[in-house]
């Protein structure tokens, strides 16, 4: 056996992490080799002393840790998490309500194009600039509105005659006529 391999096994033995079957073989080897046995004793003594040298601090900290402070921390943490969750929900509701009220009242934000306006059932200029640029194949409000130009132009709400048919989020949705 190589010296390095033996030494590694002896250190594992001293640290108490050697597998039992390996330990048995090693003990047999040590019984037949006094030099190796002396080395093993040396390492075991080193680890024992190292444990003893570091044991003082460990014992000093073995006194019970007050749990009350942790419980307070836990409660605070839970409360903060709850507040954060409620805030996120409230923000979503506010945004939803704002968008809903805009579409209901007929107000069109400055950045909404004619096609977008058509999509929410408002009269819009079909020839507005930027229509072609938005026809890129991806799903968008503008591309969606492109499919129902006649209703948008006449000011009739698309949702009254058509229903949205959307099989998959990765496919473009299309409108089906309500029969």
């Amino acid at each position: 056996m190589k010296t390095e391999t033996l030494e590694a096994l002896l250190i594992d033995r001293a640290l108490g992490v050697l597998a039992p079957e390996v330990g048995e073989l090693l003990e047999t080897h040590l019984a037949a080799n006094p030099d190796a046995a002396r080395n093993a004793d040396n390492l075991a003594e080193t680890v024992r002393l190292a444990r003893a040298a570091t044991a003082g601090a460990r014992t000093a900290s073995d006194r019970p840790v007050p749990i009350e402070r942790f419980r307070t921390t836990l409660r605070t943490q839970r409360r903060q998490a709850l507040i954060w969750d409620v805030s996120k929900l409230a923000a979503c509701l506010v945004v939803g309500l704002a968008l809903g009220s805009i579409s209901r009242s007929g107000m069109v934000p400055a950045n909404v194009t004619g096609n977008s306006a058509a999509a929410i059932g408002l009269p819009a200029d079909r020839d507005s600039a930027g229509v072609a640029a938005e026809r890129n194949g991806f799903w968008s409000l503008a591309n969606f509105a492109r499919d129902v130009p006649e209703h948008a132009a006449s000011g009739v709400s698309a949702s009254s005659r058509f229903r949205l048919h959307w099989d998959s989020p990765v496919k473009m949705p299309h409108l089906e006529e309500n029969l």
């Binding site: 030494e7 590694a8 250190i11 594992d12 001293a14 640290l15 992490v17 040396n42 390492l43 003594e45 080193t46 680890v47 002393l49 190292a50 444990r51 003893a52 040298a53 570091t54 044991a55 003082g56 601090a57 460990r58 014992t59 000093a60 900290s61 073995d62 006194r63 019970p64 840790v65 749990i67 402070r69 942790f70 419980r71 921390t73 836990l74 943490q77 839970r78």
Partner: protein
């Protein structure tokens, strides 16, 4: 929620003394050990899913504690005398213990860290690897070098033989 709280409290009861010892054994952190302990659990609670799924919660918490300690060292200026020094008069009956304490203090940081996690906290090689985010083989080699270095301090003749 109650069950989750109970689990976390149980982990606190099981691990807090060891974590407190871990902080107190580092002279620069000893004074703030209890605050750092709370910080460790607050960080653990920020990702309850990771805490729940951890293979070894003890190792997971030690990993967080290590980062909390590093952050505290970066923030704070060098502290004075620690409250609970690692060098205590508990076992000074053996003169070699003093040499051993000095030898441990003089080990390279990476070797000392592994040695203390093994001897003080009784973590397995796998747990130490998780705490330090290094391979198990590296844990083993660092520990072996540390033990050999300590052995050579105690038995200088052995060092010359090698």
């Amino acid at each position: 929620m109650d069950r989750a709280n109970e689990q976390i409290e149980q982990s606190y009861r099981d691990t807090a003394p060891a974590l407190l010892a871990y902080f107190r054994n580092q002279p620069a952190l000893a004074g703030a050990a209890e605050d750092l302990l709370q910080d460790t659990f607050v960080r653990a609670l920020q990702h309850p899913d990771r805490f729940e799924c951890a293979v070894s919660r003890r190792a997971y918490l030690f990993g967080i504690a290590r980062h909390v300690g590093i952050d505290a060292l970066r923030r704070a200026p060098p502290a004075g005398e620690p409250a609970d020094s690692q060098i205590s008069p508990v076992a000074s009956e053996d003169g070699r213990l003093e040499s051993m304490r000095i030898a441990i203090a003089e080990l390279p940081l990476m070797q000392r860290e592994v040695l203390l996690l093994k001897l003080q906290q009784e973590l397995s090689y796998e747990e130490i690897a998780e705490v330090l985010d290094i391979p198990v083989g590296t844990v083993r080699s660092r520990l072996h070098y540390a033990v050999l270095r300590l052995r050579n301090v105690l038995n200088p003749s052995h060092a010359y033989e090698n």
